[in-house]
Symmetry: C2
Subunit: 233 residues, 2 copies
């Protein structure tokens, strides 16, 4: 019997690659998408397509109301998504230094908590999350130390952990550049045209081409020498 | 200026006491109730009354869809809430050994994650949670080791933590018996008649008197020598 893993699947480039990696490692995959009040709901449609295309055994969408606490351009409509100030707003312009306003407070802690709950119920000991500490936009909860700390917490937090299940938080992208992630996914057959990374994609999932996420993604395709399949608005 | 704290407030006896303790320590309190698909929604009405009565500065209710993953008598309608098998189902009968089906997978991890997100936005460094390792029904995420691990995670998970905020997970009830909790709350003016602890309270918040939670609560009032103000169905 194959092992089971929970895969956090946003519908973006990184998490799609993560799902493909989990499948290539032989895991039966349960994909989990979380609708946390973010603007870019088009990602959820992308997540459904990606889960089906990459053979996820199950895919569930959970809703969490983070909009109530505000504090992020991704969940609070009163905060503007920053666009790059390079010539013409072209991808490749430098992002502002420091942790950006697109940071969602405690997001990965929350996402991993939900994944852990499902892992325990489903009998999965592995949780895949597509965090990346290279092109990571400065989010603190994308660093290896955070992933390690969550793994220790998972062991203590659960009935299964107390009874002997050894939880592993799998972050296979954490040390890869965006170009390396893209090359990995292409080798595993990921169709990145299905994925949506843009922080302010339109209802059809078309990208703005101007936000940090678009910029990093476009640069990644350029660096990987792979044609960019992204649909821009 | 007084310090600010997030207080997880379920509407039950323990979290009401926790809020009173936070207030007595001089904190400006932001009370957070989470509706996670549990059956006992009457607790939320209780939480609103308790937050107002104990002077919480703000009170918010967040919704999280845990029912989708099942696995607990508290979130999955297909799992029955166990009742004690003592004579007449009277409070005081022994609960079954081990971790009960009323355990919600990764619940406290999830609740603390939501509290951490709000703490970061609100500029709070303290999070109060009414976990208790004495009369704790065997939940793994009520133990001191879990609380310590979450504190370490909070430090690594957040922009504020990275920038120097020292997070403290306050679990003032963790080593108290139910009777000690009740005596503490009575001294701080908590009206326990407002609180609902029952796992299967009716729409008016009246307790069943038969579940583990009712049993522990009734025994606590008896042990404390305090008249039980609980409304039973």
């Amino acid at each position: 019997m194959s092992k089971t893993a929970i895969v956090l699947l946003s519908g973006g480039l990184d998490s799609a690659t993560c799902l493909a990696i989990a499948r290539s490692m032989g895991f039966t995959t349960y994909a989990l998408s979380v609708h946390y009040g973010q603007r870019h709901a088009a990602e959820l449609d992308a997540a459904r397509r990606v889960a089906a295309a990459l053979g996820a055994h199950d895919h569930r969408v959970m809703g969490v109301d983070l909009a109530g606490i505000g504090g992020s351009a991704l969940t609070d409509p009163s905060v503007a998504v920053p666009e790059t100030t390079g010539a013409g707003g072209a991808p490749g312009a430098a992002a502002a230094p420091g942790i950006p306003v697109t940071y969602v407070p405690a997001r990965n802690t929350l996402l991993l908590s939900l994944a852990l709950g499902w892992a325990e119920v489903a009998g999965a000991a592995d949780i895949f999350v597509g965090v990346n500490a290279v092109d990571y936009s400065g989010y603190p909860d994308c660093r290896p130390a955070f992933i390690d700390a969550f793994g220790r917490l998972a062991q203590l937090a659960t009935k299964a952990g107390v009874e002997g299940t050894h939880y592993t938080i799998q972050a296979p992208l954490i040390a890869l550049s965006k170009a390396e992630i893209i090359r990995t996914g292409v080798n595993l057959g990921v169709d990145y045209g299905m994925t949506v990374s843009c922080y302010q994609a339109d209802a059809e999932g078309r990208a703005c081409g101007k936000c940090d996420s678009c910029r990093l993604r476009a640069q990644g395709f350029a660096d990987a020498g792979v044609a960019d399949p992204t649909a821009y608005a």
